[in-house]
Symmetry: C2
Subunit: 352 residues, 2 copies
Amino acid sequence: MASSSKKKATIYDLSVLSGSSPSTVSAVLNGTWQKRRIKESTAELIRNLAETHQYTANRQARGLRSSRSGLIGLLLPIHDNRYFSSMAQTFEAHVRSRGQCPIVVSASRDPAEERKTAETLISYSIDELFICGATDPDGVHEVCEAAGLKHINIDLPGTKVPSVISDNYEGGRLLTEAIIRRFQETRPLAPDELYLFGGRDDHASRERIRGFRAVKRELLGQDPDACIQPTGYAPNNARLAFEAFYEKHGRLPRGLFVNSSINFEGLLRFMAGHPHENFADLVVGCYDYDPFASFLPFPVIMIRQDVEGMITKAFDVIEDAKAQPRIHLIQPELVQPRTALTGPLDALRDIE
Amino acid sequence: MASSSKKKATIYDLSVLSGSSPSTVSAVLNGTWQKRRIKESTAELIRNLAETHQYTANRQARGLRSSRSGLIGLLLPIHDNRYFSSMAQTFEAHVRSRGQCPIVVSASRDPAEERKTAETLISYSIDELFICGATDPDGVHEVCEAAGLKHINIDLPGTKVPSVISDNYEGGRLLTEAIIRRFQETRPLAPDELYLFGGRDDHASRERIRGFRAVKRELLGQDPDACIQPTGYAPNNARLAFEAFYEKHGRLPRGLFVNSSINFEGLLRFMAGHPHENFADLVVGCYDYDPFASFLPFPVIMIRQDVEGMITKAFDVIEDAKAQPRIHLIQPELVQPRTALTGPLDALRDIE
DNA sequence: CTTGTTTGCACAATCGATGGTGCAAGAACT
DNA sequence: AGTTCTTGCACCATCGATTGTGCAAACAAG
């Protein structure tokens, strides 16, 4: 590499090479040169030099001066999950299309971690923060507010800034109804044969549970409290809950509303521990879509949350300076068993 | 909020408040104060002020001065996939435990995009870059090299710096053998009944194919070229390949080696299009592990790559200044059908 | 009481880019 | 020719933190 002088070129280097001042170089390379009445020929010269020396602006310097960084943050609970990773994928595409740089970080559903992570991001002068699935959105809000950072909630709502979330009540209703209907042809479900497992005391779980209970009352007449088992999100806790139920009743409920694909993994673990059961008449409704789960040997009805829709809406709302702290609901979609939907990956071309 | 003066406190603010100079404040807050012989009482005073005013250092300024940012980059092909998202999850944990900030970005398997993304990250003065699954690792290397940035390859190897990858040959062998053995009790597989679908001309695919072919020759005696169908990674291309085979032969091969979970999604799409087939005697081996896929209605044997092992090794190697550009192989693991493994999520506590 | 030493800190340059301001040279006009 | 504009750019302060250097005050030694 001929031009690799090992250290990155700066506007000062180009300034010397071109015989112009650093400010002229800066203006040419950041596009404000017309405003500064720089001659086209001067600009041309500098652009060429920049090209041959592979100049790229030092964003820390730029950010320091302008107190903006071009970084847009996304705070996730976890990466390792189809729902959140497609959130990351979609978010990234949006940010890149705006010429900025996405920075996706997870905070493990831990309120303290969430705040600390937001603080770290702020110390990098990120321009905006999308708070997704935070356990304590308002806690993160405090931190952002103190730093004058634009932010918005996704997936789980806060009360201080706008939130864009799934319509979990409606989704819960859809899913519950689909599970019940699935049995109607054959042997209809009794109220105590339809359980909800997973989730905890967050807005999403509460709304889903509300939908679940409403539909149960409407269609099955009753809605025993025992049918709600909020185990938290950890797969192993869910597994233990299934195990306990199985221990007590000698079987699983025929109808299962599983609060998330993470909890569903708990069900898989349970099943792996009971290889001789065939779970013949089991119907699972899962609040989240995963293509592989959709093809399991028992009917799995899934809810796909509209990630693209949420991200798009969130970008709209965050731009709106006078947006009120209200909740924007995005409709999720019911996915019948054995359905392979396309995802954000399909937007990518596969270079052969 | 009383202390929220809306703008972030700087060392200059604390300098005024404490009556010390900015450099003293800086030294106290970045830990170099003993070296500078600052009195304990002065330090104490400043630390308290920093606390009450919620001071956090501006990392852009620090980074500008020290030409380090505390950011560690991970360049992924995509987010939306269990393998890569668990890579992100694991990477993040490692980086955070070192007190730095992870920045995970995807580049869609596009060599130009990969280089551009690396350049963007470099413009933020990231300290190290982990290049994972890059289509053109050596292209990214050029960019890093020119900027004097430490980097390492993961998942797909380059030739200029060390690479930490799965032992794909061995994994390919393991998986192929497991598929073949699965049939041995009943009706043994003929050579032209075992196909490999997916992948393209990258190191990983080549090695897996090499392992596949070697085992086929050893155990089945033959290894027809037609049994290798490198469709690329896009699910829809894989689907089309299955469709074409089905069209021609009226069925799928009994034994299927699917090169990645992404390609496996193509198989699901194919299946969704043929709802009346039950694929009774199908055995699928998939190079990647997904808990849901493991429980599909036909036997799915999977390979789990040791993500934790790869990341750990990569951190070791990247620290080693005199590391040669060799390939470090990490052994993957065979996963029998209907197995629910724990993942990085299980390390997180679930706050109830 | 003078001469070194040590202690404790302040000063100022620096990282690279930005943007307000000022000013010389040329053009236009009277 | 003298005055006023316009053009084209240079100069310099600034963002916030880091770091090499210098220097007074306190202290110890002689």
